[in-house]
């Protein structure tokens, strides 16, 4: 052991979080072993960055090959014909379908997920709360293809009643008209995606609600607030940004979901006003279902649509992370 270098290896004084910002006069690795190890671990970190960059670069490159030969407008064309000359394809239908299905999923899932999270943290008998949370954790791990199989075989037949009812009473709105086709429409996709993202949103929201300052809640109770008033005045305001970021994570998953959509939807390349009639498509679903018949050029075109999906999910996830990180800063003072 080389004792003379020992002093440079002064342990970080900050408790626990070694990511603390104190400056160490570290010359880092002075021993060969240290130097190799630092290089290895730093290299892994850099490799991750390289992979992210490579994803963006390679997708853009292949996408540009396809886009340069596209005769239609990539953003507004209602067609996906990559095997004809000249090729014409565009993402209008896919963008519309992706957004609509994700919006339906969010509208259904977020209120229910917040309700379940509150149920686990504030309403359920204590003995029940733990096991329920455990089961919901497990459900978050169920593979999407199983959700897809369940959606296509079990859920779809059960939706006939609901669709008939919506058509009968709300058909006049235009978005709930139903011509009686199989209920494999955007609404079905939205419902299935809602079921799928429910566990994730619930899990994150539950963690946030659990951290809500006990003092605030007890103070509210002491002032005579009912349980609902405690939640409304001290738990929900504390958890708001957490719920938003949980929803964004769920949204990111709903946007990129492939197999569940591919098994449930009857796709078509047009935009329909009605949510109940089959048709439409999403980015991920279109890639999965067109891939097997695609030529190399067709694959490039699909990569172009995947690039758009990549950018959208990057934006959504970046926003979610931004909100989470901002919350971290003041939650320490609050808790």
């Amino acid at each position: 052991m080389d004792i003379s270098t020992q002093s440079t290896e002064a342990p970080p004084p900050a408790p626990r979080s070694s990511g603390a910002s104190q400056k160490r006069a570290t010359r880092g690795a002075t021993r060969p072993g240290d130097r190799v190890f630092l290089a290895l671990s730093r290299g892994s970190g850099i490799l991750l960055l390289v992979i992210m960059a490579a994803i963006a670069v390679f997708l853009t490159y292949r996408a540009s090959l396809a886009l340069s030969k596209n005769e239609g407008n990539f953003l507004t064309t209602f067609e996906w014909n990559t095997n004809v000359l000249p090729p014409v394809f565009g993402i209008a239908v896919l963008a519309f379908g992706t957004v609509v299905s994700a919006v339906i999923a969010m509208a259904l899932a977020v209120p229910v997920a917040v309700g379940i999270a509150l149920f686990i943290t504030h309403y359920a008998p204590r003995r029940l709360g733990g096991p329920i949370a455990y089961v919901i954790d497990l459900l978050a791990a169920v593979p999407s293809i199983v959700y897809g199989l369940w959606g296509a075989i079990v859920l779809v037949p059960h939706l006939n009643g609901l669709f008939g009812w919506l058509d009968h009473y709300f058909g006049w709105t235009g978005i709930f008209t139903w011509q009686g086709g199989a209920p494999r429409s955007m609404l079905t996709v939205g419902i299935l995606l809602a079921v799928m993202i429910l566990p994730i949103i619930t899990n994150v929201s539950r963690e946030v609600f659990r951290q809500a300052p006990q003092m605030h809640q007890e103070a509210a109770l002491a002032l005579g607030a009912t349980r609902w008033e405690v939640i409304r005045m001290s738990v929900l305001p504390f958890g708001r940004s957490g719920v938003i970021s949980a929803s964004m994570l769920g949204l990111g998953r709903a946007l990129g979901e492939t197999m569940a959509v591919a098994t449930v939807l009857s796709p078509s390349f047009d935009i329909q006003a009605s949510l109940l009639d089959p048709g439409g498509g999403t980015f991920a679903q279109n890639i999965a279902s067109k891939f097997n018949e695609a030529t190399v050029f067709g694959q490039d075109a699909l990569i172009a649509s995947g690039l758009v999906l990549f950018i959208i999910t990057l934006l959504v996830n970046g926003a979610a992370r931004y909100i989470i990180n901002r919350r971290k800063e003041y939650s320490g003072a609050n808790a």
């Binding site: 002064a10 671990s41 079990v154 009812w165 009912t226 008033e229 890639i287 999965a288 996830n317």
Partner: protein
């Protein structure tokens, strides 16, 4: 709502009226009775509608009665309680149905023969056949992905926790977060573009494993990072004070202390990628035959097998899809439960 609840004045004048404990049950019974009446009277044949009418009547009835007896604030509280319970019940129905249907329908075609045979000479409309080739493919692809992702992920986490300062560490942290959100199909398209379209390699299990590794890395980094942060600094300091180099401190002290948590994180990550279909669909292509070699030629995989059997559409194929879904869920659940058990068993003493 024939059961009008009694207002009970308490001895203390500080509290207002209070509904007796049995009031919710009475209101529920009343709501169901009225709903059945409406259902029979209006000739609604759907029992779901009866249930919905009863639920709405129950919430309204609770609000009106509680508002009269206890006051508006208490009434709101009761309605909120009802709604939260309602959310829970609404969510349990599909999730319980998912598990129940998978077990019930999956049991039909599930036996030893199913586990030990491939689809080699079995047509879509013939009974028999199995998932041996798919199981083999999934295990090999997930195994290779784990071998790639775990060293990179753990080393990155070590960098972030033990060395990371400044801009590089910040960038890595941010992009690990972003990477967590990459849709699996985009990871598949990436490997497709550079491995198959540009390098000209064929479809193979290894190509799929690379995409799975990309999906797995951020999960491993995140969980390992959390675990390394839980290792008490005193341990590091004690080791360093004895003159042990930092890298040996990390390998001999920090990693063994947190190995339980790291294992848990890796198992959860494996469970996550084992169910991914989209990248496998793009990169491994799928086959009905047994292919032992993940580096050459198309392989099968369990999620892809489910998709293909479902798409085939015949009754026997659908049965096979359900049975394979059962196997996949069991695999993922066992990994999850095992991971959580290890986490509890090996939890660092300083944890929560």
């Amino acid at each position: 709502m024939s059961n009008a609840p009694v207002t009970r004045k308490h001895a203390s004048s500080l509290r207002g009226g209070n509904l007796p404990k049995w009031a919710p049950w009475a209101i529920a019974a009343g709501a169901v009775a009225v709903a059945v009446g409406i259902g029979l009277g209006a000739g609604l044949d759907s029992k779901v509608q009866w249930g919905l009418i009863a639920a709405i009547l129950f919430v309204l009835g609770t609000y009106v009665i509680a508002a009269r007896v206890e006051g508006r604030r208490q009434a709101k509280d009761r309605v909120a309680t009802n709604l939260v319970w309602g959310c829970f019940i609404v969510a349990v129905i599909p999730l319980a149905s998912l598990i129940w249907e998978t077990v019930k329908r999956g049991a039909k075609a599930f036996d030893m023969y199913f586990l030990t045979h491939s689809m080699g000479v079995v047509a879509d409309n013939e009974p028999g056949g199995g998932i041996y080739h798919a199981l083999l493919g999934t295990l090999e692809q997930v195994g290779i992905a784990t071998l790639i992702a775990v060293p990179i992920g753990v080393l990155t986490a070590i960098y972030l926790v033990e060395y990371g300062r400044g801009k590089l560490a910040g960038a890595v942290t941010f992009f690990v977060d972003v990477m967590t959100g990459i849709p699996s199909i985009v990871a598949g398209l990436f490997v497709l573009s550079f491995w198959i379209l540009i390098l000209g390699m064929g479809y193979s299990g290894f190509a799929g494993a690379m995409a799975l590794a990309i999906l797995m890395m951020p999960v491993v980094v995140r969980s390992t990072e959390e675990m390394l942060k839980l290792v008490p600094n005193e341990l590091r300091e004690a080791s360093l004070a004895l003159g042990i180099p930092k890298w040996r401190t990390i390998i001999k002290v920090v990693l063994p202390t947190s190995i339980g948590g790291i294992t848990t994180g890796v198992m959860l990550a494996v469970a996550r990628i084992a169910g991914e279909t989209a990248p496998v669909l793009l990169l491994v292509w799928g086959t009905n035959f047994i292919n032992n070699n993940p580096f050459d030629g198309p392989q099968a995989s369990l999620p892809l097998y489910i998709y293909r059997q479902y798409s085939a559409g015949t009754d026997v194929a659908t049965d096979r899809a359900w049975a394979a879904a059962l196997v996949l869920i069991l695999f993922v659940m066992i990994l999850n439960m095992g991971a959580r058990a290890i986490a509890r068993w090996k939890a660092p003493k300083t944890g929560r």
